[in-house]
């Protein structure tokens, strides 16, 4: 299973963390520090796997962002790379050429999408299209609710004028 997902920038700034196994706040900070310290200096030609406390961390760099997933030592590392790529492609499609700034200002969206890709540290959907579909549907539900709110407050405002 995937124990956690980690996104950090080349400067080591954390952009997203998702923990599927229980780690205390202290352990989380420590893990982030160890991993960003261990992964950032690695050269581009090296393999994408790092041993970490009996587990394996699979990472991949996209532009200025490092996507890391921590898996069990007997899990399929190559597949994990593919999952990372899967997630990145969905993000890319959603934001339209995703960049780090998108993920900073819309961090909650990145989480919503991740929740449609993984549950309990396991992949739940292999179709990028259907993830995009359900995210769009949920976004429109939110928009509808907002509009309703706005029109409601308009009505109230007019009534009380």
């Amino acid at each position: 299973m995937i124990h956690f997902v980690l996104l950090f920038s080349r400067q080591g700034k954390v952009r997203l963390t998702k923990w599927y196994s229980p780690y205390s706040q202290k352990e989380r900070t420590k893990a982030i520090r160890e991993l960003s310290g261990g992964i950032l200096p690695r050269g581009p030609k090296l393999c994408n796997f790092v041993d970490w406390r009996g587990l394996k961390v699979v990472y991949k760099r996209y532009a200025s962002l490092y996507f890391c997933m921590c898996i069990d030592s007997e899990d399929n590392e190559l597949e994990c790379l593919e999952i990372i790529h899967h997630y990145v492609q969905i993000l890319d499609r959603y934001f339209g050429n995703v960049c780090e700034l998108d993920l900073i200002f819309n961090f909650h969206k990145a989480y919503f999408i991740l929740d449609e890709v993984l549950i309990a540290g396991e992949l739940q959907e292999s179709s990028k299209k259907s993830v995009a579909r359900v995210i769009a549907a949920q976004d429109s539900m939110v928009d509808a609710a907002k509009e309703q709110m706005a029109s409601l407050s308009n009505i109230i405002a007019q009534a009380t004028r």
Binding site: C47, N76, L81, H108, K129, S130
Partner: protein, 904 residues
């Protein structure tokens, strides 16, 4: 009202310093607190979103946890969406607050809107606790049959989490999980197959059940493999690799150890292995999974060959990821088919030299698994070559592995020694104590190679660069076999000729180590002892050695200071016994060590931990036990040889006395005492015996770490300073703690059995004299027989005495006291004390324990020696006092023993 989320993120990003950022966060947090307190409903979800951002930056956010729960409880979708996200981010399964959300979750699971139910399932799947899992499992199970695939797949993964948390729920889920296998939707299939896998791992009957589903799994896989282009699930020309991999993994579990299901799946496995494109990562991921499955199941030979070939292809791949995976898999395959892996040996050895540490580690592990007696020479040569150029962070691993291989597979001892010297020259810093110890043991046991070894070491040492292990081994060997270096003894065929080495050159080496700033105090202690040892063999250097040793008289390291002072005393005052004192070490006991090494090696190399070897050694005294008494006595005899020999000369008493003094002195024996009341754990008149015990443990330096400066050169003295500092103050408890293993006790008692046959008029001062008699009289007959008595009896405690006496020494009596506890409480901290009138001397040996179990279920024994100076005129009398604790309560009992049999 507060700012928008976007504005806050901007403000944080605009911060130039960490302090500035903290300021912004503090202000925002304060605003959020106020908003939460005012129950600001309209902006609650925006506030929680801000809180999540603050959390991600690593600031405390616990004050907002309740807000998430409120959002979840609210009816609108936007609120719930943010609420659940906050719940998953800000809380984890260890927080009590989580319990409060159970009811909202239950409501939402059954919500008509699929997305709201989906949110609840997602949250449950990510953070639920065991209690929540139990409470909500029925709801989730119902959702597995929901007609909406979006809900079904989430419910399946949620069940995965539930099973992990509460394994006994497996049974309930088996049938629902099976039905998921016939689903058409890929998401549901992926989740469903994962759930089946999880069930199989958790429970054997589930595994049995899913074995029957093998053909439907095979069908799923076959459909994927033969299907044409499916745009929705296509990854690099392959249809849904994720699903394929999950099916293959479940097949692995199902086929392992089951020939029937293995048979059913072998066709499709062959098809996947041959038809999958390997030019993209996705394809390789499938091939990798497929190989693992083939190697795990009961596959036919042809299929295995196919799998191994794929791995061979992987190994030759230029992509590091693929090579990593290949090495990783080959490690698993080695156990199944070593021959197949051997074919790729050269490639694997190349990988040890890769620039990527992840790959190097894997390759090294694999190389170690591949080495056997026939290829150890070539492989070790390769690894040694590489050791020279490898980067520092990798050297410790590599060194440990090389040493392990050399130790395990060496074809002959000379090769072993050669390789170890090479390793120590290249990476002596990383050679651990137990490795150099093993080497010394081997040298000690190879009499014909000792000359060769010491010369090779001397040569290697010319390039010494502070390597600790090299210095220690060299110094030890010079100390033991220095004369072979100088006189070219035992030359081997084809040995490199050495230039003439003089005695002074040899002492130069020792001096260099002694004075080099890089040598640790342990190594210096080695050097000091070596100096003492060569002093008798290199008469030309005696004065120089004396001066060198004397320099450490004022050392701040207690161990060195003690050695210096004691050695100086030996060198200057005891010239006559010196030669025998510093004789060569007896051959180290190989059998014991090998038994121990196996244990240690198992631990050390299965866990790959760095700290293991140091801690393992003292922890295995059991293996050590049986031979201990033997080697101990031997060494003792060895040490005391001088005395037995000299006993025949007229000057014997004088020599004996001084030697005894030296020994007592060296061993920190206590020479001042006497009080008629002697408490057993406190050292008193029993000092002599304790000193002897100490000697025992010295003799045993062959296999243990304890030692004293006299122990000649112990190869492994890491605990030495500690032992030395304890000795003068409190030697007896120290001994007791080492004597806790029964086999060691045996050696102790077998020794005292010898010992007790003689008496100790001087209460153990003239210890060597006694020993001479002791060992001589061990064949003499025992004295008259006396009936045993019950010396003391109270409500719970019984003390009985048995007597024995030597006919050669009538005043002395050895009493074997046995303590029994008949009450129902266990007595702890039992201390027995005894007092005798002035005309008698009393000596108490340490008791066999200090705990008396209840209901007579165990005894403690103790040896008491009494010397009655008015034997024949007055009979024995004794007052005794026993103190112990019942449940921590101190109890004291005392009494007088008047019923000794007459004639004692």
């Amino acid at each position: 009202m507060g700012s928008r989320l976007r504005d806050m993120i901007r403000a944080v990003r605009a911060c130039k310093t960490a302090a500035e950022e903290r300021g912004v966060i503090a202000k925002e947090s304060a605003n959020l607190r106020t908003a939460f307190k005012e129950e600001d409903q309209d902006y609650r979800h925006r506030n929680v979103a801000k809180l999540m951002f603050i959390h991600m930056l690593g600031y405390p956010t616990h004050f907002g946890q309740m807000e998430c729960l409120k959002l979840i409880a609210s009816p609108g979708f936007p609120e719930k969406r943010i609420g659940y996200l906050g719940l998953m981010l800000l809380l984890d399964e260890r927080q009590e607050v989580l319990m409060l959300v159970t009811n909202s979750l239950k409501n939402d699971l059954n919500h008509a809107n699929q997305f709201i139910a989906g949110l609840a399932l997602c949250a449950l799947g990510n953070i639920c606790t065991a209690e929540m899992a139990r409470d909500l499992a029925p709801e989730v199970e119902k959702l597995l049959h929901n007609n909406n695939s979006y809900i079904r797949k989430k419910a399946a993964l949620c069940s995965v989490r539930i099973v992990r948390k509460v394994p006994d729920l497996v049974e309930n889920l088996i049938s629902s999980a099976t039905s998921l296998l016939s689903d058409k939707h890929h998401g549901v299939l992926i989740a469903g197959i994962k759930l089946c896998t999880e069930l199989c791992e958790a429970n054997f009957s589930a595994l049995e059940h899913f074995r029957k589903q093998t053909s439907s799994l095979v069908r799923i896989l076959k459909n994927l493999v033969i299907s044409g282009y499916a745009p929705e699930y296509d990854v690099g020309g392959i249809t849904d690799p994720f699903l394929q991999i999950r099916v293959l993994r479940l097949l692995r579990l199902v086929g392992r150890g089951d020939a029937d299901s293995s048979d059913i799946m072998s066709d499709i496995l062959a098809q996947v292995a041959t038809n999958t494109e390997s030019n993209k990562n996705a394809g390789n991921a499938i091939l990798y999974e497929c190989v693992l499955t083939i190697m795990a199941i009961e596959a036919i030979g042809g299929l295995r060959v196919l799998a191994i070939n794929i791995l061979g292809r992987f190994l030759g791949n230029r992509d590091n990821n693929i090579r990593y995976v290949a090495l990783n898999t080959l490690i698993k395959v080695v156990a199944v088919d070593t021959q197949a892996v051997q074919r790729h040996r050269t490639t694997i050895v190349e990988c040890v030299k890769d620039s990527d540490i992840s790959i190097r580690r894997r390759a090294l592990e694999l190389v170690c698994a591949l080495v056997n007696e026939s290829n150890v020479k070539t492989l070790t040569k390769e690894l040694l070559e590489y050791l020279k150029v490898s980067d520092p962070e990798f050297k410790p691993d590599l060194t440990t592995k090389i040493c392990y291989l050399v130790q395990k597979f060496f074809p002959n001892k000379r090769w072993y020694i050669d390789q170890m010297i090479k390793v120590m020259v290249e990476a002596g810093r990383f050679v651990k104590d137990d490795i150099s110890r093993a080497l010394l043991l081997l040298i000690s046991n190879a009499a014909e190679l000792q000359g060769y070894t010491v010369r090779s070491l001397y040569n290697a040492f010319q390039k010494w660069d502070g390597q600790e292990s090299l210095a220690q081994v060299t110094v030890w060997c010079i100390g033991e076999y220095g004369e072979m270096l100088v006189h070219h003894m035992n030359e081997l065929d084809g040995e490199e000729p050495v230039t003439q080495v003089t005695e002074a050159d040899t002492v130069d080496v020792l001096e260099l180590v002694l004075k080099d700033f890089r040598a640790s105090s342990t190594t210096r202690a080695f050097a000091l002892t070596a100096l003492l040892k060569v002093s008798s063999r290199f008469p030309s250097c005696t004065e120089r050695i004396k001066a060198l040793v004397l320099q450490y008289k004022g050392s701040l390291v207690l161990e060195l200071q003690q050695r210096s002072i004691e050695f100086t005393s030996i060198l200057s005052k005891h010239e006559n016994i010196k030669a025998s004192l510093v004789e060569k070490m007896p051959v180290l006991d190989e059998a014991t060590y090998i038994a121990k090494k196996v244990d240690a090696a198992d631990v050390a190399f299965s866990t790959d931990s760095k700290s293991v070897p140091a801690t393992v050694l003292p922890a295995v005294p059991v293996a050590n036990g049986p031979t201990k008494s033997k080697s101990g006595t031997n060494a003792l005899m060895d040490l005391l040889n001088l005395n037995v020999d000299e006993a025949s000369t007229p000057s014997a008493p004088q020599t004996r006395k001084s030697a005894g003094d030296v020994l007592l002195d060296l061993l920190g024996g206590n020479s001042s005492f006497t009080s008629p009341l002697v408490a057993s754990p406190v050292q008193g008149p029993s000092g002599g015996a304790d000193a002897l015990l100490d000697l025992l443990s010295i003799g045993n330096a062959t296999s243990q770490t304890t030692s004293s400066p006299l122990s000649t050169l112990e190869p492994f003295p890491q605990r030495n300073p500690e032992a030395a500092s304890q000795k003068p103050s409190n030697p007896v408890p120290d001994l007791l703690s080492q004597n806790t293993v029964s086999s060691q006790k045996d050696s102790y008692s077998s020794f005292t059995a010898d010992f007790k046959k003689s008496s100790i008029p001087g209460a153990g001062f003239d210890l060597l004299g006694d020993l001479g008699i002791g060992s001589a009289s061990s064949i003499s007959t025992t004295g008259p027989v006396y009936p045993p008595i019950v010396a003391f009896q109270s409500s719970g405690l019984t003390v009985s005495f048995e007597f024995s006496k030597q006919s050669t020494n009538l005043p002395a009596t050895v009493i074997h006291a046995t303590y029994t506890n008949t009450s129902s409480n266990t007595y702890t901290d039992v201390i027995f004390q005894a007092a005798v009138p002035k005309f008698m001397q009393l000596q108490l040996e340490p008791a066999s324990g200090n705990v008396l179990p209840a209901n007579s279920s165990g005894t403690v024994t103790q040896v008491i020696r009494v010397n009655n100076s008015q034997h024949g005129q007055k009979s024995l009398v004794m007052r005794i006092r026993v103190s112990y604790k019942i449940n921590g309560q101190e109890v004291l009992e005392q009494g007088q023993v008047n019923n000794f049999p007459p004639g004692l």
